[in-house]
């Protein structure tokens, strides 16, 4: 029995790894084929996706709502920016990314321990305050952190082996902008493989149990606080890593980049995609990256002036957010899944009413997770 389980788990891992590898190669290919501008947009989508993935596990799987993950992105971004001040970076890029993650983990641990005691609106309030408090520190310590102007980031040179590898695959030399996009997507793939495994693992099941019923989970021997703190730390780590990539892509870490809007954007991304779903987080990130440009252009086509068409993008966001939560609270991915199951159930012969209805129920429940 146990060996069967082990092999099943191994196969899950193997499947995730293979899918990851394929995704990485496809990602590099796509990035090399699209225009430079699309590549930077995709890079932005990648870092938003990483942060959203961490947040969707925290909120969807573990049931803690954080309105302050922009703060962890700021921490990651500033850590990376501090390492990338001079022409010669302090360390190789992967080390810098890990360092940014590590700092976010430390802060996430402290915040997570405090947050584990809080529920619902109290947690939302505390994380909201965190989101506005952290950028202020960058202004307070303006000597090291550059104050309001922020820290400019020097993107390190493209390593020769990396350029060679990309050249071998795509026959083009990566520019710095494209290089950061490649890095962002490779990290995205790695993070998604790790998170997918985590959510399928024992840890992920514990998180769901805590979310669904605290008392039952505690009776089953789960340490509530530890589970909560762990979920918080994992999501903070993702946000920190995303922040470091953001610093690389945007080439600056400045307080005005980490306003409350960023934190709310992340929440919007996971809701639009579907809470608890990694694919949903990525879909949400894609929407948030590409939608504003489209909507603004549409406004221009309608003959609105620049200021008004610029206001149109947030308006559409807001309306979409409200509509999704009213009409399809399971988000894009959840609704698709329900629709697919409903269709499958309809075509199944003969239909077993009781069973299909329970499947429905389960899928919606899971999707909402």
């Amino acid at each position: 029995m146990s060996s069967l389980l082990a092999s099943a788990r191994q196969s899950v891992l193997a499947r995730h790894l293979t899918a990851g590898l394929v995704a990485a190669v496809v990602g590099i290919l796509v990035l090399s084929l699209v225009s430079e501008f699309r590549a930077t947009q995709l890079a932005a989508m990648a870092y938003l996706g990483i942060a959203a993935a961490g947040l969707t596990l925290l909120t969807g799987l573990n049931g803690q709502l954080s309105l302050g993950h922009g703060a962890f992105m700021a921490i990651g971004a500033y850590t990376a920016a501090l390492c990338l001040q001079d022409a010669e970076p302090l360390a190789p890029l992967p080390v810098i990314l890990l360092a940014a993650t590590a700092v976010a983990v430390l802060v996430g641990l402290v915040v997570g321990i405090a947050a584990a005691r809080l529920h619902g609106p109290y947690l939302a309030g505390a994380t909201l305050a965190l989101a506005v408090a952290v950028p202020g520190l960058a202004i307070f310590w303006d000597g090291t952190l550059g104050g309001e102007q922020g820290l400019t980031v020097r993107v390190p040179d493209v390593p020769a082996w990396f350029a060679d590898a990309v050249f071998f695959l795509t026959a083009t030399d990566p520019t710095r902008g494209r290089y950061t996009a490649y890095v962002a997507w490779l990290v995205l793939v790695a993070v998604f493989v790790l998170l997918a495994n985590l959510s399928r693992s024992r840890v992920g099941r514990t998180w769901r149990a805590v979310r669904d019923d605290e008392v039952a989970a505690e009776l089953a021997g789960i340490n509530l606080a530890r589970s909560r703190v762990l979920a918080f730390v994992v999501s903070a780590a993702c946000a920190g890593l995303a922040g470091a990539l953001m610093a690389l892509v945007v080439r600056i870490a400045a307080p005005s980049g980490f306003t409350l809007t960023l934190s709310l954007t992340l929440v919007a991304a996971i809701v639009l995609g579907g809470l608890g779903s990694l694919v949903g987080a990525l879909a949400g990130a894609a929407l948030l990256t590409f939608l504003p440009q489209l909507v603004t252009q549409f406004g221009g086509d309608l003959g609105l002036d620049d200021v008004r068409s610029a206001e149109l993008a947030p308006l559409v966001y807001g309306v979409v957010m409200v509509l999704v939560i009213l009409l399809a609270p399971t988000g894009l991915v959840g609704s698709l899944r329900t629709w697919r199951h409903r269709r499958a159930a309809r075509s199944a012969q003969p239909p077993d009413p009781e069973r299909t209805s329970t499947t429905h129920h389960n899928t919606t429940e899971r999707a909402r997770a």
């Binding site: 408090a133 307070f140 947030p314 957010m321």
Partner: protein, 292 residues
């Protein structure tokens, strides 16, 4: 010495403004168990209503009344059109809904009223009172702010403690099913709760705007600090909201004056976390909260 006095007085005035906003949040929390993140932009919209009325040549008080009425209507409309239709068995849904409304109201205001700074009049003096030959940092409008908030607090306490409607509102929020069985028209009570809360919210918008500048984002800092004040007080208690607002206003004023204004947000966070770690349900939580 005078700096100490000034910082204290401006902290108190600021605290009462946060308190007004926190009261609105507490109202909605008590009536529907929802934290309304769209409260600030709703108040911003109604302040623009007042400004439009005043700019059309009517007196301040007509604009004031128009804003309160607009707030009442807007609150009821939002509850009836949107909030009622959300599946609130999942705790996060209403939060996200009101965040979405937050964004919508913001853009609507910028589209309709434009995003310039506009000044908003105050009905009373904006010069400090003079005692002997020193001026103390308390203006006629500041006194009005304090009195208005205290009056609202009193009315709310009366409403919830001593009136039939208040009792029904509390019952609907506490247990909708049982209340319905007992003949309370729960839906109407929920709308009324939102309407009253939005009215109080509009008042806070007017108090913040008075003798200051208005633009579509002018309420944004209050989103955070007003919410922190409400959470400090325990979300359930009007008294707590006022106490939380005062505590926060004083803290922030002192931090801003003696340490640096960039640390204000951090101070709010630390005060909040310190209080919540000792009392996870806020200062005035009547019972120890336990979710089962």
């Amino acid at each position: 010495m005078q700096q100490l006095l000034t910082t204290t007085l401006s902290g108190i005035t600021l605290g009462f403004v946060y308190a007004a906003f926190a009261l609105a949040l507490v109202m909605i929390w008590r009536s529907t168990r929802i934290v309304n993140f769209a409260q600030a932009p709703m108040a911003m919209l109604t302040t623009y209503v007042a400004l439009t009325v005043i700019d059309a040549g009517y007196s301040y008080w007509i604009g004031f009344a128009a804003a309160l009425v607009a707030g009442f209507v807007l609150g009821a409309a939002v509850e009836w059109l949107v909030v009622r239709r959300v599946d609130s068995t999942v705790e996060i849904n209403p939060v996200i809904l009101t965040l979405g409304l937050f964004i919508v109201f913001h853009s609507v205001a910028a589209l309709v009223f434009g995003s310039q700074f506009r000044s908003f009049p105050a009905p009373f003096g904006v010069r400090g009172f003079e005692v002997g030959d020193t001026t103390i940092a308390l203006t006629g409008f500041g006194v009005f702010t304090i009195l208005a908030v205290l009056a609202v607090l009193g009315l709310l306490l009366l409403l919830f403690r001593f009136t039939d409607v208040g009792l029904r509102m509390r019952a609907s929020a506490f247990n909708a099913e049982v209340s319905r069985l007992l003949g309370v028209r729960v839906g109407r009570m929920l709308s009324l709760g939102w309407a009253l809360a939005a009215l109080v919210g509009s008042l806070s918008g007017l108090l913040i705007a008075g003798g200051g500048l208005v633009h579509p984002s002018y309420m944004d800092p209050v989103v955070v600090y007003g919410f922190v004040a409400a959470v400090l007080g325990g979300l359930d208690s009007p008294m707590g909201a006022v106490a939380g607002g005062l505590l926060l206003g004083l803290c922030l004023s002192f931090v801003s004056g003696y340490l640096g204004s960039e640390l204000v947000a951090m101070a709010a966070l630390l005060v909040l976390v310190a209080v919540l770690l000792v009392r996870p349900g806020g200062l005035f939580a009547s019972t120890v909260q336990r979710r089962v």
